[in-house]
Symmetry: C2
Subunit: 243 residues, 2 copies
């Protein structure tokens, strides 16, 4: 399978060749290129299409009136930006690119078509929606209860497993285009403290991080520090169980 979205949806349901074809078609109609560090959508915009990240990293974020910024979630290749957003009046948050992005834009008709043609895909899309929400819940726990060290470790665990699911890891390594400032905004700490936390994780022999490349030197230990429980990602468990 060459299409990232298809690859991702396969975590949630066994797709047939027909399904894969449908997805490839749909994500091929309208695609857009976005340069690094630009806004894809801005808070207040009227959402018109559903977007799919085909390549590159992006973040959802929200800003407080006084300038504080929180990264709300990280969008990786294969990720959808809100199934059915166009039902909402206005965007309540922004999406910004981290690296160069290739994104597909799907109109309402295209999605309706997919759901009519393939119940399997429809199901997979629903699941991806449910999982995205589950991830958001886990972020709530992360920010609410974990210490800085634990939060950072948790973020790395999540990203690693999500990337792995779309074939973007090599053994224990993956790209990490997020700067320390990005990491700090995702984990609710200052950039200075993010720096110190990373040094701490390095010193403990858990990770290596240099030139935008993350190496997880001791995954089990990292998982342990983060109290990471993979369940919330619901990767590859669903199709076996429900019908």
């Amino acid at each position: 399978v060459s299409n990232v979205l298809a690859l991702k949806l396969q975590q949630y349901a066994a797709l047939g060749p027909q399904d894969v074809h449908l997805v490839s078609e749909a994500t091929g109609v309208t695609t857009r290129l976005v340069r690094p560090r630009e806004d894809v959508v801005r808070e207040g915009d009227r959402p018109q299409v559903v977007r799919v990240i085909l390549d590159g990293w992006a973040v959802r974020y929200k800003m407080l009136p006084d300038g504080r910024r929180q990264i709300i979630s990280i969008l990786l290749p294969g990720d959808l930006c809100d199934l059915n957003v166009y039902l909402l009046d206005r965007m309540d948050h922004s999406i910004g690119s981290i690296s160069t992005l290739t994104i597909a834009e799907l109109g309402r008709e295209q999605l309706d078509l997919i759901c009519e043609e393939s119940p399997t895909l429809c199901r997979a899309l629903w699941l991806e929606n449910l999982v995205t929400t589950a991830v958001q819940r886990e972020w709530t726990v992360n920010l609410g209860q974990r210490t800085a060290r634990e939060r950072m470790a948790h973020l790395f665990c999540e990203l690693f497993f999500r990337l792995k699911a779309v074939g973007m890891t090599e053994s224990n390594r993956c790209e990490m285009p997020l700067t320390q400032t990005d990491l700090s905004e995702a984990t609710g700490m200052t950039a200075v403290h993010a720096n110190r936390t990373l040094q701490d994780l390095r010193r403990s022999g858990l990770i290596e991080l240099q030139s935008r490349m993350l190496t997880i030197k001791d995954l089990d230990a990292l998982i342990d520090v983060a109290m990471f429980n993979r369940n919330y990602l619901h990767q590859g468990t669903e199709q076996r169980v429900n019908q």
Copy 2:
């Protein structure tokens, strides 16, 4: 309208009498009573039905292996517990009652029926789903960026406006069955600090809180402290705009 769910969904679409009837029927088939401080669903359970809170308060929560607990969101009358959860293999979090609950349980068929019979309701359900996710995102910002005082103020603002939408406020007052420990677990602080934060808000003349009743003495000021932006609740804006 006497049905809370119908009342809630009216924020998202103009329901006809037919729609209201459908909702009332569906939420009347199977109902359950839950005593205060019990688990409704537990992490690890296989979700079988979609639940609707008809009366009482509940919370979603997650626990870390070492006992730390984070309340992930608050469920008020009219709230749904995850449209289509039964697609997921296992619950990744728990739901616990705060006060005595009356909940309706809807099977897959009932929901399918609703969506087939009424596109308006289907749309409203989707919107409620999108809004729930938006709330979760705002909680991420709350926990990640705001100070204790701001977080607590924000929580009160959110609850007040959500309760207002289902007719559960009287001018500037509403019930507040959450204990200080609950509030602390929702805002990611210790119970001791929650206590001090509440005293601070009281001393500033923003709120009164006693015998499970919250009075907002200065809503504008509270909104200001919380940097509360109502937009993310998407209350009563959508139906006018899209089609």
